[in-house]
């Protein structure tokens, strides 16, 4: 199996809205994680199961460590859907703090109101 990141790249872009290279890369990582999650969990189970022979567990460890970096869930970073920024992204709205402010003040976020007391 080749270790190229391009193997996780779809032929045609399946995103709408704001798009930049780093956002697409993160999207590809997310797809790779989704595809390989059962395999990774199975290997993790083999590694954690102390009733299995040591050899099997060591092989599973090796196999897991040799999987592509894109299949690792820790590679995923929550990015702003509206601007691609990776910092200060609200998980509930999927946008960063500045986009949140702009959209909230424009009344585009239902239920969000500027605090005043």
């Amino acid at each position: 199996m080749s270790k190229m990141a391009s193997m996780f790249r779809p032929k045609k872009l399946d995103l709408s809205g704001f798009v930049n290279t780093r956002l697409i890369r993160d999207h590809n990582k997310r797809n790779a994680v989704e595809q390989t999650e059962p395999e990774r969990q199975a290997l993790r189970y083999l590694i954690r199961n102390t009733s299995l022979p040591q050899r099997v567990r060591a092989q599973a460890q090796l196999q897991l460590s040799q999987m592509h970096a894109y299949t690792r869930p820790t590679q995923i970073k929550n990015r702003c859907v509206a601007s691609g920024t990776a910092r200060a992204v609200f998980r509930d709205f999927r946008i960063n703090r500045f986009q949140f402010r702009m959209q909230a003040l424009a009344g585009e976020l239902p239920g969000v109101k500027k605090a005043s007391w």
Binding site: S16, L23, R30, E34, R48, N49, T50, S51, R94
Partner: protein, 106 residues
Amino acid sequence: MSQPRILELVKTQCRIFSLNFNPQRLRLGNKILRQRLRGPALAAWYPKKDVSFRDLQNTYKPLGLTTFDEAEDDREEAIQIAKLRGKGRPKKKRTAAESKSAKKKK
């Protein structure tokens, strides 16, 4: 209750609620199997592609219907104006010789 009886009770309890019976508390990795898959939720972070004007155009053009894309029309008009002013894009260099001669002129 006696010790074997309690064990028997726990065993039955585990069978009924489909839990793992593990009185020796061995590390069997079952917590991995209990975890839910996070992949679908993670992959759904960015908005998926929806229907664009171009998709509509591609579906209706073969049926003989005419479509009008205002943004595309504006763009083509702007290009025409730029060309008339001599501000259009330079001609594509197809061969190595052509691109060389273009550089020498400088």
